[in-house]
């Protein structure tokens, strides 16, 4: 699957299918600091992302 990340902007490819919770683990990210978006939809941690999917992991923490 293709994963789009921000701060800095980059794309990584990881093996699917995978549960959202495991995507977080593999990328060593804490779920509380991000949202996972597929298309226009938000995914909860128990959902599965297929290998052909593109998702965005969007940071929600701002520095101000």
């Amino acid at each position: 699957m293709k994963v789009h990340l921000s701060h800095p902007t980059r794309d990584v490819v990881i093996q699917g299918p995978k549960r959202v919770a495991d995507v977080f683990k593999e990328l060593n990210l804490i779920p509380e600091a991000f949202l996972i978006i597929r298309g226009q939809d938000l995914l909860t941690e128990d959902e599965t992302v297929a290998d052909g999917d593109s998702i965005e992991i969007r940071p929600v923490i701002s520095g101000g």
Partner: protein
């Protein structure tokens, strides 16, 4: 995961409330929490005119949207800091939101451009007076929001600070024992003295993640990109630490910050109020007459210094 309120698919789990919501129920939940914050902290009433400080980021645009959806009379002020690239992109988001969402509700956007007023953007200005950009920026934003609120007779000024912001700030203040700042951490600060607008933070019950989810669900087109000056900010370290604690023990952030507010409320009968402190320590600035503890306020001193350095 299913929504706990209806049969739909959940879009967000909220471990701190041990629940999960679909888009519609999340929207309802967030709006009701904001309404509850406004009432509980006596922020404003439907007749009051509210000035929202907007930056183009998720918190401030979401706040503006929610206030309009709840039927409040909310206008907004955007301060264009003149940061190359970032400022024009954030301004575009704000103007777009104003046009599509706010103006149809009869709400208006005011833009203050630092460069027009001070002759330079925030970065050059900070360099000129040898102060960190964020500290110069803070002074300018505080000053301009207060000035616009006061001069245009707004009853109250609202900012998009959320639970994460306030918990992180509290952690920072407690770690350094900056007790004098603790008084200022209430979600409602009174218009303690002539020239100071009342300030409120209606999102203090919501986490950043819940707000971002609300923005995505309600198609609020905000700027995901951060201000380039924010890199390495101390706040991010505190927020990260709190989120790690939150993951281990959901509800940590709210227990920390709301618990502080409860204690503060209980002790308020003993300690002198902020209004009393302000009234004894503040006087009008000799240049602009905004209240200040010094003879000339920090904004006017900054501007004076910038002008002499330019010559």
């Amino acid at each position: 995961m299913r929504c706990r309120k209806c049969p739909k698919r959940a879009v967000l789990g909220l471990p701190r409330h041990n629940t999960a919501f679909c888009g519609g129920c999340l929207t309802e939940f967030v709006r009701s929490q904001v309404q509850r914050a406004i009432k509980a902290q006596q922020m404003f009433s439907p007749d009051d005119r509210v000035l929202v400080a907007v930056s183009g980021g998720k918190d401030s645009l979401t706040l503006w949207e929610i206030l309009l959806k709840l039927g409040y009379r909310a206008d907004a002020l955007y301060v264009d800091l003149g940061i190359p690239g970032y400022s024009s992109r954030s301004k575009e988001k704000v103007e777009q939101f104003a046009k599509v969402v706010a103006e149809p509700c009869g709400s208006q956007l005011t833009i203050h451009t630092v460069e027009e007023d001070a002759g330079a953007g925030i970065k050059e200005l900070a360099n000129l007076i040898k102060r960190p950009t964020c500290s110069a920026c803070g002074t300018i934003k505080r000053y301009q929001f207060n000035r616009v609120a006061w001069q245009n007779h707004y009853d109250v000024m609202a900012t998009g600070h959320n639970l994460d912001d306030e918990a992180a700030r509290l952690l920072g203040n407690v770690l350094q024992w900056q007790e004098e700042y603790l008084q200022k951490q209430s979600p409602t600060l009174p218009a303690s003295i002539e020239g100071f607008a009342k300030k409120v933070k209606p999102l203090y019950r919501m986490t950043e993640r819940e707000i971002a989810a609300y923005a995505v669900v309600n198609r609020i087109d905000y700027l995901v990109e951060e201000c380039p000056m924010a890199k390495g900010a101390k706040m991010l370290v505190y927020k990260d630490a709190l989120n790690r604690l939150e993951a281990e023990s959901p509800g940590t952030k709210q227990r920390f910050y709301w618990g502080f507010l409860d204690r503060q409320e209980k002790s308020s009968s003993v300690a002198p109020s902020m209004t009393q402190i302000d009234q004894t320590t503040l006087q009008p600035c000799t240049v602009c007459s905004q209240p200040t503890t010094a003879g000339t306020c920090s904004f006017c001193r900054m501007m004076a210094r910038a002008k002499t350095t330019v010559k």
